[in-house]
Symmetry: C2
């Protein structure tokens, strides 16, 4: 296993925060020779060229993929089906394909449906990292350092392709972890999708109040930290909700039951129930953070 | 109006994050000559002495208040009634009293009940600032710089006392704002108390899951930013819930209705409803933050 395996030509389909950060990181590590970008708009491609994120821009997937040994699909989830269809007709026979989508069952199903003979060289992936600013202009080479990238290969996936993608991610400074697609989606529903919904619901509730200007003015700095994730890309999050609906509904219902319990405790002035919940919550978070921080060092 | 009016002797009842930060800030500005501290434990008093936060420690409220021209009550809310009772018997006739409690209607009622002839020199106050680490060891002189302090004087409050307390807070770098106690409690229920409940409910939900260790391990860094406020002091937050129950229930019910609407949208795969909510939420937060940042500059 060569941990510094160089990619000769990487085709990046979708040039945004995640895709841009990936190729910046690989370029900085010197493990990619050439990056060809495809994006929805000319403007994005021009920005990516100006920033040196991509070396060449192409308008069509087919031209970008020609001669590529690595293809990374980094678009919103709902843009993937037509892209996969087109990829199936133009991929080189040794090209490895991966994606960065936040919902893996949907991506695996889509790839299985559209990639036919190339499906074995498709390695589903999800870097668990991000920031609220979207777009290639927000990308940077350090976004994945110390983060986890989850790969969810299936039985049909070629182990050599999986290893190639894992090596690529390790070269960004990320740790690679393997999970089944369903387990990934269930876990991310709880740790990422639910918190986003909770934050959107909170900010939206405040925005609907008659005195909302005063509310936002008097909110402490902590409020803006807390709601930072409610400034994430709305289209991306709509797609996540639509493609991971079952797992998200399950955690949303469980969370709502917790809100109901706390509401009952406030109504009945049950100080002991409130204190128990707050103490358990603080302990879990402090412990989780401590373990995480020591694991990342 | 002398904006640098010096406090001769400040009695600090409750030596924690907020009280400690207040006197550190006043000392740094050179606008307090002597600080006498009272706390529940000897250990806290010794720490505060070692850190130079207080100049003298007293075990009893009466001894601390003797000769003080300013008395700051900075304890959890439910500790206030017996303290107010004791203060009423030992306050000097020109001493100004204030507090830093997060729920003002409760504090005004408590003070009105216990302070009798001294009530006119009691100025209810709330610095809208904090951090998740509690205790005098987490205090610092810059906690209130650029923040808002809300004062909620009532009709019986002596305007000169209000001005003395406002000057003290301005000397910490804070802006002072006047509101009625009910308006304060309603607004803070939405912008501070509700977000804390939401965060506690979320972390507690994850902690109850069978695979919670894996959940906390795979949570992105954003999750820990998001849930930072769920590491706040449980006793303080229990007291806030118990003393601002009505306003908190009202916003919790409104928020829950928003969660229900989003749950319905996910269940029925209503992408447009989801997108509308996410876009409105992002716009409100981005606008609120922009206004806030420019106002603080």
């Amino acid at each position: 296993m060569n941990s510094e395996k160089t990619i000769e030509r990487l085709a990046l389909i979708g040039v945004g925060l995640i895709g841009g950060s990936l190729v910046r990181s690989l370029k900085q590590a010197g493990v990619v020779k050439e990056v060809i970008g495809v994006a929805r708009t000319r403007e994005t491609l021009q920005k990516a060229l100006n920033l040196g994120v991509i070396d060449r821009a192409e308008a069509e997937v087919e031209a970008a993929v020609d001669g590529a040994d690595m293809v990374v699909v980094a678009t919103p989830l709902q843009a993937m089906p037509p892209i996969m269809s087109r990829l199936d007709n133009c991929l080189g026979e040794h090209a490895v394909v991966t994606d960065v989508g936040s919902v893996k069952h949907y991506v695996v199903t889509t790839a299985n449906l559209h990639l036919s003979r190339n499906f074995s060289r498709f390695v589903p992936g999800h870097p668990v990292a991000g920031r609220e600013n979207a777009g290639v202009e927000a990308s940077g080479p350090d976004l994945f350092r110390g983060r986890t990238v989850v790969l969810t290969p299936v039985e049909a996936t070629d182990p050599a392709a999986t290893e190639t993608v894992a090596t690529m991610w390790r070269n960004t400074g990320a740790a690679v972890r393997y999970l089944g697609a369903e387990a990934h989606d269930r876990i991310l529903a709880a740790t990422s999708h639910l918190p986003h919904i909770v934050a959107y619901a909170l900010v939206d509730f405040l925005a609907q109040q008659p005195e909302s200007d005063l509310l936002f003015e008097l909110a402490a700095a902590g409020f803006y930290d807390f709601t930072r994730i409610a400034s994430s890309d709305p289209v991306m999050w709509r797609d996540i909700c639509l493609t991971n609906g079952d797992a998200l509904c399950a955690v949303l219902e469980g969370y709502r039951a917790n809100i109901d319990r706390l509401l009952d405790a406030v109504k009945s002035a049950n100080g002991e129930a409130l204190l128990t919940c707050f103490e358990r919550s603080k302990l879990s978070r402090d412990t989780g953070l401590m373990n995480k921080t020591s694991a990342e060092q």
